[in-house]
């Protein structure tokens, strides 16, 4: 397996009224070609910022992101433009990420005009091909975004990301606003496209069930830190970190016979403006020790399965 994406010691903070808001703190992971890596965490854990850093939609403070061995931060104007055509993103809110004043064919042809030298007729043919690829009728090309349902629009969003034949896609909560049956259809489509086109995905979500069903590996984030990472099977069947355990115990199974004992987290999370020097999760952890408050636990790897907790 070749590594397609490698993130090493990534740091990113924002300036919030003169105070430092740490969004991502020392995050490392890698994704193999053709696989799907999930990033899961609660709101404010830095998942979306991570996706943006990986695609250089925002600059990073330190650390490195490399895709196919190329350091993303080193790319200069023309190379960057070419690189963008190979690395795309599907944003969370499909309504917000498309211009309502333009028709679908214009929306889908824009990346083609930017990145290729296709003639008008070639562009039209490609637009039709893209719509077919995401299983939409080609007649949709002449519609406006407000004429489409949420699921249809998300398909257009995916088609736009695929327009320039990318190799790597960041999927930022691609189905969070959709109904269950539509969600399943979109994810099945993404899976199908992945095997057909050999795509690599970074799937950002707060939905653990979705991560379990569609990813090969996962990183569990909490307040900018990865607390646990590894192959899906290892992390979901044998969670080690108390936070992962609590998260998994809170997912509700649709099988009424499957009863889980829920671990209810007490306490409140720390503010990202005022992080402790010890473990980020210590304010809500039931097994907290005095040492937990002293220093950040290091990620300890056992094979592929890593966990950042001194209690293990």
């Amino acid at each position: 397996m070749t590594k397609l994406l490698e993130v090493i010691n990534l740091h990113k903070s924002f300036n919030a009224d003169g105070r430092k808001l740490v969004a991502i703190d020392d995050v490392s992971f890698s994704v193999n070609k053709g696989e799907t890596h999930g990033v899961v965490g609660e709101s404010g854990s830095g998942k979306s910022t991570l996706g943006r850093c990986v695609l250089r939609l925002t600059d990073i403070d330190s650390g490195s992101v490399s895709i196919k061995g190329e350091d993303v931060a080193e790319l200069k104007s023309k190379d960057l433009k070419n690189w963008r055509s190979k690395n795309q993103i599907v944003f969370q809110d499909s309504y917000e990420s498309m211009n309502p004043k333009y028709r679908i064919d214009w929306i889908l042809s824009e990346p083609l005009k930017l990145h290729t030298k296709m003639s008008k007729s070639e562009i039209l043919a490609r637009v039709a091909e893209l719509l077919q690829m995401v299983q939409l009728p080609t007649a949709f090309a002449s519609r406006y975004t407000n004429e489409l349902s949420g699921g249809q629009l998300q398909r257009v969003n995916i088609a736009r990301a695929l327009a320039t034949n990318p190799e790597f896609l960041v999927l930022d909560e691609p189905t969070s606003s959709l109904d269950h049956s539509v969600q399943a259809n979109i994810l099945a489509l993404l899976k199908d496209l992945q095997s057909k086109l050999g795509l690599t995905y970074l799937l950002i979500s707060h939905d653990l069930e979705m991560i379990a069903n569609y990813c090969d590996s996962v990183s569990v984030m909490y307040l900018g830190k990865v607390l646990e990472s590894g192959k899906i099977k290892d992390v979901f069947e044998n969670p080690l970190h108390p936070y992962t355990k609590a998260l998994l115990s809170c997912t509700l199974s649709a099988n009424p016979l499957e009863k889980k004992t829920q671990i209810n987290l007490q306490g409140l999370p720390f503010s990202p403006l005022n992080l402790p020097k010890g473990c980020r999760f210590s304010s809500r952890c039931s097994q907290v020790l005095p040492q937990c408050l002293e220093a950040q636990p290091e990620m300890v790897l056992e094979g592929d399965h890593g966990v950042a907790c001194i209690n293990i």
Partner: protein
């Protein structure tokens, strides 16, 4: 068990004029909530879940009208009540918590004042007595430091905390029925489970029945006693939760349950997932345009079939599909 809320033959439509066909948002809805149970109402966007709740509360948006049917609350017909009569029961015997707690709270009034107002609306009491009552209710819903929160504004609360405040507001007048309209959408899973536990425990303590609207099948499976599956303004299947989830009969229910186990599908039905055109609703089954088993008989009027005493399904193909 007696039914505290019963809906018979309810139909709601919008936009009827001389040459425009109306959109039928709810048609022939039958639903009953028994005393003390948590009744889950599940369906996709546009199925009419929220609309059913608003019609129960007498809060239908302007332009929508109850075309026919009756809503019996505690044995009394409430769909034709005047606004004045509705004010008597709304917030007192019938309470609601909605998806966005901040939308339900006044941003420029302190939490305590708002809750005191809710209480005094229906109870003859002084401000001091009401405040005492509010503080008790706030601690009952697990708000740490209720006195401080009494003097907070809504923007000083987190999403989970605001939802707790709304639950306190809903329960303070000891309603008979709580309508919970997707109360945990938008909350993180760890907070979601706290809120669900709270609703379940608090309603059990006070003997309140809950009509719980959600599109999350996990919530239904873990918290509800009864479930009704809604599609295009109609209940397609209804029954005790375990019966419906373990032996689903309607193709839509089966397909919906399959989406929760994509790697281990039981039925593997096809469903292209486009929402129905509410203008084209006819006498037959509304699901037939998406159903892979649809045939000509599906366009004929539907009747309700009984799977067993409590489990009902509305499908022409009932008994003809493989299990």
């Amino acid at each position: 068990m007696t039914n505290v809320l019963e809906i018979h033959n309810l139909a709601i439509q919008i936009g009827e004029s001389e040459n425009v066909a109306p959109s039928k948002i709810i048609n022939n809805l039958e639903l009953s909530v028994r005393k003390g149970e948590i009744h889950g109402l599940v369906g996709e966007t546009g199925a009419g879940k929220s609309m059913s709740v608003w019609s129960i509360m007498g809060l239908l948006p302007r332009g929508m009208e109850v075309k026919s049917g009756e809503i019996l609350f505690d044995g009394k017909e409430i769909s034709g009540l005047s606004e004045k009569q509705f004010k008597e029961i709304r917030g007192k015997e019938l309470a609601i918590i909605s998806q966005n707690p901040f939308g339900s709270l006044n941003p420029v009034k302190k939490i305590g004042k708002q809750l005191v107002d809710f209480y005094r609306q229906h109870n003859d009491s002084t401000f001091a007595e009401a405040s005492q009552k509010v503080l008790e209710e706030l601690s009952a819903v697990g708000i740490p430091d209720p006195v401080r929160r009494f003097h907070s504004y809504p923007n000083q609360l987190s999403g989970g905390m605001a939802q707790r405040i709304l639950i306190a507001a809903a329960m303070i007048n000891r309603p008979k029925v709580l309508l919970a309209d997707e109360p945990t959408t938008g909350l993180d899973v760890t907070i979601q489970s706290q809120i669900l536990e709270l609703i379940k425990n608090r309603c059990q303590e006070l003997g309140t029945s809950v009509l719980f609207i959600t599109h999350d099948l996990g919530i239904i499976a873990q918290y509800c006693d009864y479930v009704s599956v809604m599609f295009a303004g109609n209940i397609v299947e209804s029954g005790p939760m375990k019966d419906v989830f373990l032996r689903p009969q309607h193709p839509y229910t089966r397909q919906l349950l399959d989406t929760t186990r994509p790697n281990n599908k039981k039925f593997n039905y096809k469903d292209n997932g486009t929402p129905p055109d509410l203008k084209l609703i006819h006498k037959g089954c509304n699901y037939n345009y998406r159903c892979q088993f649809a045939s000509d008989e599906c366009k004929t009027p539907l009747s309700t079939s009984r799977v067993d005493a409590a489990h009902i399904v509305r499908c022409h193909k009932f008994g003809k599909l493989d299990d």
